[in-house]
Symmetry: C2
DNA sequence: CAGGCCATGTGCATTATTTCACAAAATCAT
DNA sequence: ATGATTTTGTGAAATAATGCACATGGCCTG
């Protein structure tokens, strides 16, 4: 029974997770997969897989499993990744430069259409992907012109909040922040903070009490 | 009352979060901070901050707050980030190259001491940080020699699992995987998967049902 | 076409995490 | 000192997420 009620947010994260092995399995042998197998590939429990999917409909066939292609299609529809999204990136240091070129983004339909930096040295340079680095004061203008939906922040931490405000004013619909500062924007604006030093500290915590 | 029992894993993640603004506040005016203010800076609830800290001891003074410097010290001790950790990185594409140079790692005591790649074109090149790219078949040798504790994976997804196995065999103590595949290693080995396309898909999900 | 088989879908129990609300303790002003 | 004020530390309540266990319903064999 499909529930249009509240979806647990871990469920959303896992849907994205499930799509990875499904993509890989697309060409290969059995066109169906069981919740048990998919769970194993993703490191979760089979019941979890079934429950997550059940929030959105009945995609499987009892006694058989899930059709790989159809399931992937459904997940993409749910996550709204069955379409392209336009992104811009602010802060063209090492990380920013790496992300614009990153194939994993493009392949999944996340297309960078503008790159910004405050450094006059960098402005005007052409990136390998073809984009020209623009000055930060053109953010508002280009977000409108190029219909940019998501802003990505890869500046140093002390600039992140200011850039986030700029992006909000420019009316991007969501922000993905890689700077190790929590950027806060009121009004239930969509912001995801990705701080990978946090993940390292997680490892350090566990390592610190093992030996 | 300190509880040596099970610590919720979200608590660990948040401790790392708390340390960010504390670092920034180190020099500035009031030497103490309230749970309310810290919570605001990190985007969590004040009760959450207090409970998280209370798992590890009584670090605050009632009616006053927490001493910024002392609290940061405590958190670092808890997370075992009061010392340096040695890392290696495998896969010197755009992302890998960006991460070795990343200042946020070094500043927090995560020191890259080796870089590997399978591509003979890249092997032997010297990176801006001074490291020379080594061939993947030297992983075992160098992990031992340079006492590498944590392995970072930035290869394409289809290589990630194989590299993870190599790192495990080489006896690194933990793995941080940036490839968009869940790498699985049995025996409760320490692995963190950081997939930022997952974060984007999270945003896409919410964007897809807003307008 | 009947019966066995198998993996899904799901209500319910369990466990995990967060929030609430207030007593306890420290500071400060009088 | 004493009382007012402030903010911590913490049980207990509420909420959220996960795991269990089994009925359900398609598929396949004979």
């Amino acid at each position: 029974m499909t529930k249009y009620c509240k979806i647990p947010s871990p469920t959303i994260e896992r849907l994205a997770l499930y799509s990875r092995p499904l993509e890989a399995l697309l060409g290969s042998a059995p066109p169906v997969i069981s919740s048990e197998r998919l769970a194993e590939l993703c490191g979760v429990s089979p019941a979890q897989v079934r429950k997550d999917l059940a929030y959105f409909g009945e995609f499987g066939v009892r006694g058989v499993g899930y059709d790989v292609r159809a399931l992937l299609q459904e997940i993409k529809k749910i996550l709204a990744t069955d379409r392209d999204w336009t992104l811009c990136i602010v802060g063209m240091g090492n990380l920013g430069s790496a992300l614009v070129e990153n194939e994993n983004f493009r392949r999944r339909g996340y297309i960078f259409v503008a790159a910004f930096d405050a450094d006059p040295e960098k402005v005007g340079k052409t990136l390998p992907c073809g984009l020209v680095i623009e000055p930060a004061n053109r953010i508002r203008e280009l977000v409108r012109e190029r219909r940019i939906q998501i802003g990505v922040i890869t500046t140093p931490p002390y600039e992140a909040q200011r850039v986030a405000d700029l992006l909000k004013d420019a009316k991007v619909k969501a922000i993905l922040n890689f700077a190790p500062t929590q950027v806060r924007i009121p009004d239930c604006y969509l912001v995801e903070n990705v701080d990978f030093t946090v993940k390292l500290e997680n490892l350090a915590y566990h390592l610190g009490r093992l030996p």
